[in-house]
Amino acid sequence: MFQAILIAGFGGQGVLSTGQLLAYAGMLEGRHVAWIPSYGPEMRGGTANCGVTIADRPISSPVVSEPTTLIAMNRPSLEKFEPDVQPGGLILVNSSLIDIKARRTDVRVEYIKANELAEEIGNSKVANNIILGALLEITGVVSIDAVEESLRKVLPAHHHDLIPVNRRALELGRELMREKGTEKR
């Protein structure tokens, strides 16, 4: 198993912390993991992306230059990183914020209206986890339980009341992909 996942969006969208969550979950499941950020000098509102590598052998390079999966949280990210995705890979598009389609035909592309869906379940901040849920369903890279366990570790105790809604978001993403009748790869 070798997954190199690039998560990209605006600063402040939770892109970096979503990546950390994923890496943490991979570590809890006994995988080799690496998380590497890249961002502009702005503290808020600039571009932000991070690469997460999860593998069952030592990770040679933590630098994600040819991702197996791209999670695009805004349009510039899709435009910038789409060409880098490995053939046969996966692109998850947050279609709440991206009004264009991916052009690649040699990768699987899923469009998820993550922001609207997050509002529907009562917390606009869990959009990332809806997409993460979709990623887990399609790739099986880590389990939802491991992500929930990671939330328990990375969130300060006074935010643990947010764990149920995050779990709900992960499950929603998973269900969306199941409804499409897709098979795990």
């Binding site: 890496a23 570590m27 993991v33 690496a34 998380w35 000098p41 933590p62």
Partner: protein, 354 residues
């Protein structure tokens, strides 16, 4: 013991604390700021001192004072700040004080940018300040290795009474990887009979780098040179990653070496005899690693996040009896595996690389 996920910069801090360092003097600069953030929180928990100075110039002189007073002490910065420290580092060497200096390298020259680079190699390995000196430069390539090397950094500084530099880059500082911290061990800091701590009934001690009489300074220089020679003999370190039977040997350190490992993996899967020498000590440069390879390797390719600095040491280590090629990205750009692979292909096919 369970693994925890840690940033490289934080690992430097935790590694230092576990090595018995209790004094940190620093000044903010990107991309190493997570380290001072970490130590500002951590030092008071272990009875240590974190002090933010007014400049890197002051920082290194505080280190000089603290080291002279017998403490395990460190500072950290990135390129521009390390440049400001050069005068002080020269004094630290002259006065034979142990300390650890961390440089999380960023793009230069000048203000450059805050993105990762390895372009301070010359400054680190040639002695960036004035005078005839050297210091051990350690180059970790993973967060776990940072933890392990911090202990060594302080021990080597003590062994030779000389500063030790830990040279990383922005990627290494900000990436997160699982680390095993292990049990916290009782640290035995070697006695410092030379420290100037107030006479308290003993001999007068002087912490000094001034030798006004040329005969005296020459003697001092010769004595220092003997230390540097001992370091060259005893302290060369490297990782040999499938290099023994390689037709083409990549040479890279730190983050660039991680990228090169991925290239080696790919080449080996395809049946190409490619390996990697990863220097852990940039100075002393691991010349010993290259001696056996001269009989087996046909080409060397140095990969750096600069316009080519370590490549000069590779040419010296191979005595130029094999072609040494160079591939680099700079200004904060990272070499990507695909491009390094293409360079390897070209060399193996007998083509010219740049």
């Amino acid at each position: 013991m369970a693994k925890i996920l840690m940033k490289g910069n934080e690992a430097i801090g935790e590694g230092a604390v576990r090595a018995g360092c209790r004094y940190f003097f620093g000044y903010p600069i990107t991309p190493q700021s997570e380290l001072p953030h970490y130590l500002a929180k951590r030092m008071p928990q272990v009875g240590g001192v974190y002090l933010q100075a007014e400049s890197e110039v002051a920082t290194i002189n505080m280190v000089y004072g603290a080291a002279g007073a017998g403490a395990r002490v460190m500072t950290s910065s990135s390129g521009p700040g390390i440049s400001l420290m050069q005068e002080g580092i020269s004094y630290v060497v002259g006065a034979e004080l142990p300390c650890v200096i961390v440089n999380m390298m960023r793009g230069g020259p000048g203000l450059g940018n805050i993105a990762p680079a390895q372009s301070d190699y010359f400054q680190a390995t040639r002695g960036g300040g004035h005078g005839d000196y050297r210091m051990i430069v350690l180059a970790p390539a993973s967060v776990q290795e940072i933890i392990d090397l911090m202990q060594d950094a302080f021990d080597l500084a003590d062994r030779y009474r000389n500063p030790v530099m830990l040279a990383g880059d922005g990627v290494l500082g900000q990436m997160m990887e699982p680390v095993e911290l292990g049990e916290e061990k009782e640290v035995r800091i070697p006695p410092r009979p030379w420290a100037a701590t107030g006479r308290t009934g003993g001999e007068k001690h002087l912490i000094n780098s001034l030798y006004i009489v040329p005969e005296d300074l020459e003697k001092h220089n010769i004595r220092l040179a003997a230390k540097f020679a001992a370091m060259e003999k005893e302290e060369q370190r490297w990782e040999d990653y499938l290099a023994a039977d390689a037709e083409l040997v990549l040479v890279a350190f730190g983050t660039a070496a991680r990228v090169c490992k991925a290239v080696v993996d790919r080449c080996r899967r395809e049946g190409k005899a490619v390996g990697l020498i990863r220097p852990l000590t940039l100075w002393p440069f691991p010349v010993k690693a290259f001696q056996p390879l001269l009989a087996t390797a046909a080409h060397f390719l140095t990969v750096e996040m600069s316009m080519g600095q370590m490549v000069e040491d590779v040419r010296l280590a191979t005595r130029e009896c094999r072609p040494v090629y160079f591939y680099g990205r700079c200004g904060g750009m990272l070499p990507v595996a695909g491009d390094v692979y293409a360079a390897v292909q070209k060399i193996l096919a007998g083509g010219e690389a740049k």
